[in-house]
Amino acid sequence: SDICDGFPILKGICQFVYQRLDDHEPLVDADGDRFSIIETLRGTHFRGRDCDDVDSSVHPGKRAIDGDRHRDSNCNGIYGVDPKTGKTYEELLCDGTGQLGVILLGDSAGAHFHIPENWVSAPDISLGAFEILPDVLADEFDWPHLSSMTGYINSSLVKWPTDSAYYRMWQMNHCNHRDYQNLGVNGARSSSMNGTIQYSMSRDQKMDHPALVIYSLIGNDVCNGHPDTIAHMTTPEEMRANFHSTLKFLDTKLPKGSHVIATSMADGRILYDTLHDKIHPLGNWRQDVTYSDLYEFLNCLQISPCMGWMSSNETLRNLTSQRAANLSRALEMEVGAYKSTNFDLHYEVFDITKVLKKWVKEGGHAKDLIEPVDGFHPSQKQTSEMSCLVLQTTQQLANFLSAKKFWEDLDKTFPNGIVKMNPHNNQIRELFGNQGGY
């Protein structure tokens, strides 16, 4: 900021950068189509890679221009003409397969907020532990490429296969390659989402394929760090009005045939119940810092991400859950009442508590499903004692399980939201390999 203030010539550039960051748009995006060619700074970790960053008519999710005869206009790695038939590969392999992108309108849980445990556990810190720090900062401590809705890579940081709504979309139909947008923002709530989608979402009603939009704001409407936390929670009336505005905006942006799913809020009582007497990684060396200690410290400084649930006051935790349930009901009512033009609308009870109970029933530890450092978010961290179990069975941790459960529930109650298997997937793999990767 000193440099920006000190040199007038840089002021405009600085303002541009600040605005991009504030609006959660990719910082490196030469053609302004909201898709990038770099991983971080709201780049390909958050949205599919742009295959031409100087032409805004080329980006993931686009309906192929002239069947992508000469170039890949939708960045799914499929282009060119079949020499035998003279038809374009897009026509042969993708037309009529029901292409569908995935767009998450979410919060830090949706973007998969994560601080590596070895960063705050003295016995585990070593040379190289912070090598990834610049990238982690540039991604706002979010790891959307490993998230339950738009995760797509197998990382050395986790030892189980990637599973996410987008990944399944791609598995079902390789024509959906790179068609994902994770608009998860740390601290996002129903009111801020109305601003975020206006600047950050990319979908053209005429030129793009339909999308499955997942509206998943699981906590921040009841979570804040104010001492009078209840006074700062969203009311059911506000929640419904905010969601209504979001739906109205989506109706002007989403192509016909899209789907919107609103998920319920979480019941965060599970956090305190599970963790309060457990040792936080900061206390690993001397066993002297519990999650309860950390929660109280953050509450005292008024920087707790959720005073209502991360509190020793049981009455407050119950009141917070009660409000969350009321807000979920408001969402459900709006889903029932809203008359949409371009998408169908569904409400999905997406309860991490059920996932957790199942995990425990199958022999897991409840605490492993919560982010160890912040004691607040769903985890994707695997503890060493779990590794064998996870590798030997089909059990996976929170985000993976959530994606699985989400998909199973969706399949039962909302089959329209799921794409059909593309019979040409093998052919796509043979012809186009990894489709240009991510």
């Binding site: 705050v120 003295a122 016995p123 040379l127 912070f130 090598e131 001397r286 410290f297 005292c300 400084l301």
Partner: protein, 123 residues
């Protein structure tokens, strides 16, 4: 209040430095230096500048046997006790509380202000 996220960040970093020092049979200051060395190369110079700036205060706290991460961050003026607010601490309180312990190192208002400006200058 009371330094907010700056205070939380300080408390975590000082805790880690102290523990890393102990694990490696080193002093807290050496723990800090080791922690800086764990960072990517471009992050090390500001980290080392910070360590050099806080070293005298940390050393004095250790010498006077007042050192805890909570007290250290009070003495560094990165944590405060704002009017009407309780003392925020991650570890059990020792002696007569944080503000009292810190005041043994920074006995005068001038000393506290000097420390405050030193830390703000570091950014």
């Amino acid at each position: 209040v009371n330094g907010g996220s700056t205070c939380a960040g300080c408390t975590i970093i000082v805790s880690l430095a102290e523990q890393i020092g102990e694990i490696n049979n080193e002093t807290v200051v050496q723990g800090f230096q080791r922690l800086c060395n764990y960072l990517p190369a471009s992050y090390q110079p500001p980290c080392k500048t910070f360590v050099a700036s806080v070293e005298p205060t940390i050393q004095q706290l250790i010498d006077e046997k007042f050192f805890t991460p909570d007290v250290a961050c009070q003495a560094l003026t990165l944590c405060t006790v704002d009017p009407g607010q309780p003392e925020c601490h991650l570890y059990p309180l020792v002696n007569k509380g944080l503000a009292w312990s810190a005041s043994q190192i920074l006995p005068t208002r001038a000393a506290r202000e000097k420390q405050y400006h030193k830390m703000r200058k570091l950014g």
